[in-house]
Structure formats: C-alpha cells, structure tokens
Symmetry: C2
Subunit: 459 residues, 2 copies
C-alpha cells in the first residue's frame, strides 16, 4: 500500500458511509474471507507524521484565507481513503476534467464531508477555482450553504453576530457569564447543547421540556430512572397545557445527541406518544443523528414498539440527503406553495441515498451494526470495570454502535486519540461519543478497544 508511506492513516469514526462498497468487495478472495467489506482496507491505523503534518498545515493555512477553518478537524484525502480508514495528507493539483462524470465528482458524491470539520484536501482549490473566481468585487471570502434560504439565514446570523460584537467592543471582547447563561433560553434552533451555537441570534419563544437525566448502567437504576422519566413526562404535559403560547408539536431525539448522548427508555417514548395523542399535538421524532442504522435498527424509534407511529420523522446525515416522513394526509398543507422552496432537496443526493439503502440491504449493515455494537459495548464494559475513573456512565447498550461515556479529561482524551490514529468526537460537557460507519466490524472494534485502553494509560 504505497499510500502508507506518504500518508497518515486513521480509523474513521464519522457518519460517512461509502456507497463505493460494491466495486470494492467483488474480489473472490474477499468473499471467501468474508471479513472486511473493503478488500484493500488496511489492518490497522498508522500514524506517520505529527498530526497535523506539515502538508496538512500548509493546506489548512491556504484554506483559512477563504473559508473559516476553526471548526476544521483535519483535511482529508478522500480519493485515497478506504472503508473505515481515511488518509490525511494534502495533494497538489487536479487537472481540469469534464465535471459531471469525473472521478473528482464521484469522490465528492460518495465521500460527502462535513465541510466545517473534515473538508477534502482540495477544498480550497475547488473554492478558489470555482465559487471564489466570480466573487463580487471586494468580497474574497465565502460561507457555503445549501440553498438560497439558508444562504440568507446564515448571512443574517453573521450580521447579528457582527452587530453585537461591535457593541461589545470588538472580536476580543468575551461574552459575559450572564450572556452565556441566558442565551440558552433562546429558542431558534432545536439544538440547545452549546451556548456558542446560539449567542446573538434572535429566537422564538418556545418552551423546552427536560429530557430525562438517567443513571447508568440503566439496569442498576431501574426504579429511580423510571421516576425521573415520569417527572419529565409530567412536565411535558404541564407545558403543553400551561405554556403562554399554544403548543403545536413535541419534538424529541431518540437519543439526545448534541446534549451528550442521553438515553431514555421505550416506556418514556411511549409515554410521550400517549401525551401527544391525548393533547392532540403532533409527535415529531428527530432522527437526524440516530437514523439509518446507527442504533442497530434502521430507525432508532423502531426500538420503542409504539402503538401508533410518530406523526413526523426527520432524517439527514447518514442518509446523505434530508427531509421528513409523514403518514397522515392532513399533514400535507391544505394548499400548494405553503411548504415550498426552489430546490426542495437534491435528486443527486436522493440517488446516493438509494445507493446507500441498496448497499445496507445487500451487506446487511444494520445487522452488522447491531452485532458489532453489542460486541463493542461488552468490551467497553470490561474497560469501564478496569478504569472506572476514565470510563463513566457507559451508555448505548443494545443501541448498535451509538455508544458514549463520560470521562473527566474528555478533551485531553480526544486529543490523544488522534495520536494513536483514531478519530473520535465529543458531545455535551464530558461525553466521548462513538459514531462509526455502518461498515464498522468486530475487528475494527478490537482496534478501537485497544486504542481506548492505550489512550487511558496516557492520561
């Protein structure tokens, strides 16, 4: 594998799922071995240079000129990345090739990066030779978006932040403690986990109900957890009945994700369903993070055995496209153009999702994720017993690979993970959360378990 010599390899634990699986799994050798989904997948991560290496740093500096890189985790060479492994290096230049059927396009389609975190190594080049080539005079930077509406909305956000920044006395002025606290009462976005997402942005006056704060392992705290869930359900019903604005719907994530991977029982969600039915408000399940197999079922709410389905289920991320499902015909607005925008999605991305679905079925990837998740969880339980101070509140049992735990030195943990060639993220205040791809298998789980132990020993 020539690329090992010039590159840094990492175990990739993101929501990306390559639809290229088909072409990469046709070797008879592989079919016999039946182990990796990708024949050429390396057997372990390999770290060659410091991370980021000099090439990656130079390319990041280049990108920084035109695109905000402060959320950037690392530049990734998606053309050389395989299966659960991604290649970190920068490459020089790409020839101009017919666009729509080019290898460049194929790579862009099957390796859709979270551009804020993991842009491809040539993202600056794509911007500089494309979007920025026609930048209006005097404007040399770009924030890329999905459609006209969020182009405008994100522009307004930028304006609000700039306005308040001037009032505070410039970019160096810190938010006050009061600002950080009160901004969480803003209600524009569904996410409420981080003040930095909300600061300065106007918001609607919407109520927030508490999500159960359970104790783990769940089975050891059954009674008090049930009480906590009951308390939250009562508060939801009280808010529906008493909030000063009328309530149209209850929105819930099957696993509260940005908030730190907080779980609740099927009984809790059944209770929510009952409350929404009883009060005649809609029950919206936000499966943006949990959907498409990650929890060991295709939809996380499949775990709940509801008597009646949710009214609306939203999806994105692993689907590589987005939208919401519904069944009640009355949820289609009573006149046209009430729910309308120019693009209303992207057929190219709809085709990719179809390809993803076909691969998930062909390779039984949901079943794989359920089995790998159980295996991984058992290994983490062993580590939690061995290193109780570093691996607390392990959660996600029976939820596929949607697993998380708390660790007091979380940010240090995540930083050291890169050093052993593993890319893991955090959420909430102290959670380490796993979001491997659906092609993550037991032999990858073994590598991850070894790596977690290595990291803990370095803390």
């Amino acid at each position: 594998m020539a690329f090992l010599a010039r590159s840094t390899l990492r175990l990739r634990a993101t929501s990306r799922f390559p639809v290229a699986a088909r072409t990469l799994t046709t070797s008879p050798h592989l079919r016999a071995a039946a182990k990796p989904y990708f024949a050429d997948e390396p057997s372990a991560p390999k770290v060659v240079t410091a991370i980021p290496g000099p090439k990656n740093k130079a390319a990041t500096a280049e990108l920084d000129k035109v695109f905000d890189v402060r959320s950037l985790n690392m530049l990734t060479d998606y053309t050389k990345s395989i299966g659960n492994y991604c290649v970190i290096s920068s490459y020089a230049q790409i020839a101009s090739i017919p666009v729509a059927s080019s290898p460049e396009m194929v790579t862009a389609l099957i390796n859709r990066p979270a551009l804020g975190n993991f842009p491809s190594a040539d993202w600056a080049h794509v911007l500089n030779t494309g979007i920025l080539k026609v930048a209006p005079k005097g404007l040399d930077q770009v924030f890329t978006a999905m459609a006209g509406s969020d182009a405008n909305e994100t522009a307004y956000k930028a304006a609000f932040m700039y306005y308040r920044q001037q009032q505070r006395g410039g970019p160096q002025a810190e938010f006050t403690a009061e600002e950080i606290e009160t901004t969480m009462n803003n209600h524009l976005s569904t996410t409420r986990s981080k003040a930095i997402h909300k600061m300065d942005i106007p918001a609607f006056d919407w109520p927030q109900a508490p999500f159960p704060s359970l104790k783990y392992p769940l089975e050891e705290h059954a009674q008090e957890n049930a009480q906590e869930e009951q308390r939250c359900l009562q508060e939801v019903e009280r808010l529906i009945k008493e909030f000063h604005n009328p309530v149209a719907a209850v929105v819930v994530e099957p696993i509260q994700s940005e908030g730190g991977d907080n779980h609740a029982s099927p009984a809790f969600f059944q209770g929510l369903r009952d409350i929404t039915k009883r009060n005649n408000v809609l029950f919206i399940v936000d499966e943006v993070q949990t959907g498409v197999g990650a929890t060991g079922k295709f939809w996380a709410h499949d775990h709940w055995n509801l008597q009646t389905p949710p009214d609306i289920v939203t999806f994105s991320k692993k689907a590589q496209t987005a939208g919401y499902y519904y069944g009640n015909p009355a949820l289609r607005p009573n006149k046209p153009y009430r729910q309308f925008n120019t693009w209303m999605g992207d057929p190219a991305r709809a085709l990719i999702f179809r390809g993803i679905i076909e691969e998930i079925e062909r390779l039984k990837l949901v079943e794989n994720t359920a089995a790998t998740g159980d295996y991984l969880f058992a290994g983490l339980e062993r580590l939690a017993k061995q290193y109780p101070e570093h691996l607390q509140n392990l959660r996600g049992k029976g939820q596929g690979t949607f697993i998380a735990w708390d660790t007091p030195k979380r940010d240090e943990f995540l930083a050291k993970a890169k050093g052993v060639g593993v890319n893991i993220g955090g959420s909430g205040m102290s959670a380490v959360r796993l979001r491997p791809m659906l092609i993550f298998q037991k032999h990858h789980a073994d590598i991850l378990l070894e790596s977690v132990e290595k990291i803990i020993k370095q803390l």
Copy 2:
C-alpha cells in the same frame, strides 16, 4: 430527432443551465454555424399532445401518492432535453446501475430541477425505490429537504399549519381576510410577496422598509421616480434609527423578484449603501435570483458602481449551489462553531458551479445574455406599443434577460403560453417574468416574441 415523435417540446425559461454544453458543442459543423450552443437543439418548440399529456398525467398521479404535486408545473424528461428546450413525457423504468458515475447521476447533476415545480419524470421512481423504501412504519410520504436543519424546520412548519388547520375546522376551512392581511406582517422569511408562504408560521419582529414603486418606462418618469426612491431611502433611515428593536443589517434584492420584478436605480442603491455606512449597519445584497449573469452582468449589483462593496452578497439558483460572499474579516464570527452546521454546502454542487463558471467564461454567456436581453427588450417594446392593454410596465431595460411586464389577464396569459410551447412564470400580482437560461440567444428571442404575440391574440 426521434424524440419529437413521442414527446412534447417546450421552450424552457427557467434558471437551469446545463454544464454539458461542452460535449454538445464540439461538432465542427456547429462551430462553423456558430449559432446555437447546442448542435442538436430543435429549431422551434413543438406541441404534440394536450399539456399535460396522458403519460404525464399518469406519472403525476403516481408521484402524488408520495410527494406534494400541487406546485408541480410539469414532469420533465431531462435525459432528452437539450439546450433551451425541454422534453415533457414520462418514461417507464430505469435499470439499476452503479450510482455515482451513472448516466442517471450525471443527468441529476447537470439538470437540477426545482423539485416542487419541475421534478424529473422518474422522481416518484427514485423516491419509491430509495427514500421511501425505508420509510418508518406507518409513514408513507416524504418531504425532501437539503439538510437536517431544514428537515426539522420544514417539519415544524408542517406542524404549525396542521395545528392551526385543526383550530379552523379542517382543511376545507378558508383563511379569513384578516388572516391573509395580517400574516404579511409576519417576518420569518425574507420573501413577503405571498400570504400563502407565511400563513400560520411564527415570525420574528423585523421591520420592512418600502421598496420603491417606480413608473415605467423609467426614462419617462425620471423625476417622480427619483422622489419615490428618496421617500423610500428616508423611510429606511428612519426605521434604522427608530424601530423598537435595534437594526443589524439592511437586506435588499437588486431587483425585487418574487414581489413582481420591481426595479430601482443605481442612485437608490448607492443611497442605501450610504445610509448603511452612516448608521453602521451591514448592507446585504440578496442575489439569489439576480446573480450569475441573468442581468447581463455577472452580479446585478455590478450595475450600481458602488464606492464600497456590499458587506455580504448571497447567491443560489443559477449557481446550483448556495452561500454568501463577504470581505470584512470581522464578519467571520469571533469564535469557531458560531456559524456551523454539518454539511455547510455540498462539494458536488461546488464542482458543478465551477463547471458552470468555466462554461460561462468559455462561451461568453454573460455577454450573450446582455446582448440577447437588449434585443429581446427592443422587441417587447415594439409589442408594448402595439398591444398596450396586454403589455404594461415593461421593465428590465439594460438588465439582460431579467425582463418582466404586467398584464391584466396574467394567469390566462401563462396558461396559454404552454399551448404555444413556451414555459413562462409569473410573480407578484400581475407580472409575467422572463427567466431564460444564459444560453438563450437572439433566435430564441425571436421565437419568444412571436409566441408572446400569438398568446396576446388569443386573449
């Protein structure tokens, strides 16, 4: 051209621009002729069946089962559409082919439809064999979106509309006149042209300044138009200073598009720029509709000769991707993750925009649009003199093909246009607006002018 026999052809006046131009213009014959950008483009529209024809109706009924078709204009066969002409027919079935480099994907990439209006003929098939194949139990319909945030936001909109509908007594209950009037005071979206877009959706308390209401032809009403613009500028400044909430930015379209193609002079926009500078608020130019060549300059605000550039320029539509440009480094938020979402755009669409830019430059399409627009406008001026009752307030002189006029029987005009094989849209209360592609040339303008006269004679 075999497809003529089995299909309906129309002159296409949408914002779509095919990047396939390169492959389609390489014949030496064409280079010699130097007339159409597409060698195989038909010489005129041809209407074979009633519109919609039986196949199109059947396919629409199929799509209606899973997707709201009430904004649908017509199902389009993008695989057979060429240049300024699109083919209206339904086709049966597509074989399963490797996704990312398939002809199906190439078509989806270079022919990005406004899915609410002009979905491809196989859109129901793509949904049924893809997204809907994994629909959660009990939910059999889908609203497609771009990202998790607008999946959730559009779901919330659906919930609000459903909630209010129940209060009104069901889907048959009409909005009251008071509702239709007061909903326009809602301020969630930038668009304020149609009550139907805003009904039932909560909104921020933002001020709306008047856009100049000018008289056309502009050169015949110079003095009173200048007064009207002055009145609007004074109102903008008053609102900035006196509105009960502080103002962070002024947002303006170079040509107020959804509102009915309302124009203003460079002096007006220079005045807006001065006011925003003087009051230290940002000047945001919304070029979602006007950007990328349609007005005969790459950006419509290039017509204004501003002393200092706008602070932010937003774009989408013709760019096939979206975002905003800025230049002031202080507009990059002072901390990371303040302006962030998972996708932050789509690299596949960024590559398409790059291809579009290359083709625009290679074929000098902005210059073509400026010249074709002048030619078309002169022809429409002649028609306006001949049919003053049907072609009023002609506007967009010197603005490329971004041309519109008022006509008392607008909806009838648009309906009859289809009958002569021309697809035109409306905006505002009574405007017919033209939005041809950048490859629209003088010989297409001739066809359009003849068609407009034909339609008028039928009214």
